[in-house]
Amino acid sequence: MSKYQTRKLVNYFNLVASLVVTALGLFMLAWILSVLFSKGFQYINWAVFTQMTPPPGSAGGLLNAIFGTLVITFFAVLIGTPIGIMAGTYLSEFGANSRFSSTVRFINDVLLSAPSIVVGVFVYTLIVEPQGHFSGWAGAIALAILVIPVVVRTTEDMLKLVPQQLREAAAALGAPRYTVTLSIVYKAALSGMITGILLATARIMGETAPLLFTALNNQFWSSNMNEPIANMPVVIYQYALSPYEDWQNLAWAAALLITLSVLTMNIVARYTLKGSSSR
């Protein structure tokens, strides 16, 4: 075989391999989603949204878990977002090139990918252990720690996209620095910042590991954040690995619901971002 033919063959082989692995990646997504739909969809009914998680062997729903996840996620975003936005603002607007900012940026990027279970253990030793009991607040704080790096990163990136002339124009009119940031820069970067918050919400909604040691679970209705509180991920974990068929079925229904919410939020976030950048 001539050298030319060998080169062509190698090229052909590698390109076909690229095509195959891409198809494989797409197939995996399709496989996972089809499993979720075929197993989960049949168990989604009215009871899932109106009844509490049942004792083994009887029918029930996920009302308390859905409520718990919404509440914990809400408070986590409520705590994490302002911290993240202010920190991102500092990195972009005040200390862009200082050594302090580079350190914060570096550490933030490490925290962005840090194992979430370690955050769970951290909050356990910080809050659960001294208090002596698991609580919804501990869960919300653990998730807030996961929200912060995402929001810091997107806020900084989005603020940096705002043209410098806009800031200078506002400053030339005599606006103080904080007015420039709050009413000019934030306004220009708003949709990007909202995208960041959406992505952070999507990330924490399905997080299980940090909640295992903090919010734990609660079989009954509870809206008290000072007590263990039911939530979807931990319900999925416990029910999927249980020997009871009713529980496993509920776990599949919960898995479908949580995945759909997370994926929808992701797609909406991307759409928002695309809409704002093309403008």
Binding site: G25, A114, R177, Y237, A240
Partner: protein
């Protein structure tokens, strides 16, 4: 930025109602929260170290290389979970990197324009699927399929190869170190692939076209022009994927089998640091709890180092690119 700063100070000096107070309050608040990011990191390290201290004091350095993890007799050694974590992540990288590379090549060089975005988004959505969903799918669908169809083939072929043959042995139950590695690979592919794609897309067109004009095949352009040009970024992306794989918890806890025995066969059930914590933490107390927190600290430090290396590579690339622009 500095011109803006000085303009502001000048304005502030001249006018009485300048909002200087508001400015310093705003800047101070922003600084406080930025500093909080650092506080969180050091808080995690210090608190974990404090809680893990009884274990290090009790077992000394032996904690790292002893393989028995015996809750009944209160003997703890971290070898099995540490090895499990490293081996599952290594498998994930070995499978995930070539696949991600192929996906990045497909999206940047092969796909028609209308396909690039949808395929890219679909691959990235793999990263959005919650970890626990991978766990359920892995345990109830992937593991049985793997045990029935892939594992016998691998054992009868690779299992007979000298030296590496011993790794491809184990019972056909599906939950194993190897299965965990494969599931991890699927989970980290979107991260590595999207970084590689972003890197490949910034390669100057002139560079690629010159190579094509010299008669290079597409593969030669990828291997000899694009890859060398984006080396640092690609390594950074791989390290980022590795960092993700090391700390992944729920998916692994479902499919790894949770056995704290040391086996050479990759098809035996095993454990990782994160899966051990997920399984035992809520029933632990005393020295057991302290040992689990010690495991968490070890995991945190390993991932911190890996992610720092990743960040270092990616930062270096940013600087090179900024340099070439000016």
């Amino acid at each position: 930025m500095t011109t803006l700063e000085s303009a502001h100070t000048q304005v502030a000096k001249k006018s009485k109602n300048s909002g200087a107070l508001g400015d310093s309050i705003f800047k101070g608040t922003a600084f406080f929260f930025a500093a909080m990011v650092l506080v969180v990191l050091f808080g995690i390290m210090l608190l974990l170290l404090k809680e893990a201290w009884p274990t290090f004091a009790h077992f000394g350095f032996g904690f790292f290389y002893h393989s028995e993890w015996d809750v009944v007799n209160n003997q703890y050694g971290a070898l099995v979970p540490i090895v499990g974590t490293l081996v599952t992540s290594l498998i994930a990288i070995l499978i995930g990197v070539p696949v991600s590379f192929g996906i990045a090549i497909f999206i940047t060089l092969m796909a028609p324009n209308w396909m690039k975005r949808p395929v890219g988004i679909a691959i990235e959505l793999l990263a959005a699927v919650p970890s626990i969903i991978y766990g359920m799918w892995g345990l109830f669908y992937f593991a049985p399929w793997f045990a029935n169809s892939m594992q016998p083939i691998m054992t009868s072929t690779l299992g007979n190869v000298p030296l590496i043959g011993q790794f491809f042995q184990g019972p056909p139950i599906g939950v194993s170190i190897f299965t965990a590695g494969v599931v991890l690979a699927i989970m980290i592919i979107p991260f590595i692939a999207s970084i590689m794609r972003d890197m490949f897309e910034v390669v100057p067109t002139a560079l690629k076209e010159s190579a094509f004009a010299m008669g290079s095949t597409t593969w030669e352009v990828v291997w000899k022009v694009i890859l060398p040009y984006t080396k640092a970024g690609v390594i950074g992306g791989i390290m980022l994927g590795l960092g993700r794989a090391l700390g992944e918890t729920m998916a692994v806890a479902f499919v790894v089998g949770n056995s704290l025995e040391l086996n050479t066969g990759l098809f035996y059930p095993g454990a990782t640091i994160a899966s051990t914590m997920a399984n035992e933490f809520n029933e632990a107390s005393g020295l057991h709890m302290s040992s689990l927190i010690a495991l968490a600290l070890i995991l945190f430090i390993i991932t911190f180092v890996v992610l720092s290396i990743a960040k270092w590579f990616l930062l270096r690339l940013e600087k090179v690119q900024e340099g070439s622009k000016t």
